[in-house]
Symmetry: C2
Subunit: 145 residues, 2 copies
Amino acid sequence: MEAGMRNLFDSLGYSLGKASQAMAERFAPVLEPYGIDSRQFGILCVIGRNPGISQKSIGTNMRVDRTTMVALVDALESLGYCERSRSREDRRSYAIYLTARGKELTDELWGAMREVEDLTLDELPREVQDALLAVAATIQRKRRT
Amino acid sequence: MEAGMRNLFDSLGYSLGKASQAMAERFAPVLEPYGIDSRQFGILCVIGRNPGISQKSIGTNMRVDRTTMVALVDALESLGYCERSRSREDRRSYAIYLTARGKELTDELWGAMREVEDLTLDELPREVQDALLAVAATIQRKRRT
DNA sequence: TATTGTTATACTCTATAACTATA
DNA sequence: TATAGTTATAGAGTATAACAATA
């Protein structure tokens, strides 16, 4: 290999990033009509699995700063997807729940996400697909030893 | 499945993002002493494989706006990793080349990146590893049919 | 004294508009 | 007239500091 002649497609990190980016870009227009982005969809999923969770805990779980959480949850609440109520155990924090509409939307979007994932895998450049296969092969090899 | 109870780890997109993020975060401190970030490392790789490439072409290749390219290449040049010279065919654009030091650094960092990739795959949460295996299985199934 | 949520503010990053030089 | 590179600037997104309420 001649000095400096490195092909980014041979990098697992680069290929993982490309695949991740491709899915995000295909999913974004699906979410857009509902007024949310992929991070907010993630928040809905976390609330759904953890009814009564606090903003702080969601942020810790998703690596989102607590000051950033405020506006994200504000929007979800004003759109009618979740509700804040003061926690009984610790009245500094909120207990957050999905509304019926929020549960409905989460399920609907989850199905749409599955379709996006399936389509996106098809559309990935061959080199990226190959890199993902290499990632899996490495994981399996590590587990066998 | 109860309404709204969706586990993000069951999302391929989420897991791909987590894996990508984990690699980026582990690679960043390796690059930091050299004054560059992962995107600039990518630029070095692209220049290395395409000696004489223009800023515009690099940007198109890596989805980076041309106005954003300026500062990125400025830094790489002032650090002595690449050089701009006016293109002979089209004197509006630059022909960009890696310096000897730039080639050296690219090779060195490429090796470090391989180690990071290997270590990071080990450290990924089990659920993320499983999702990556599922991605590979889906790709292989699609190819067989 | 520490923590949750909040607001205001400063900072970073990126893209838009306008310019120069070449084509 | 269009394009590569550049600069200045505005915009979006995020984190820091400070405050109120509660622990």
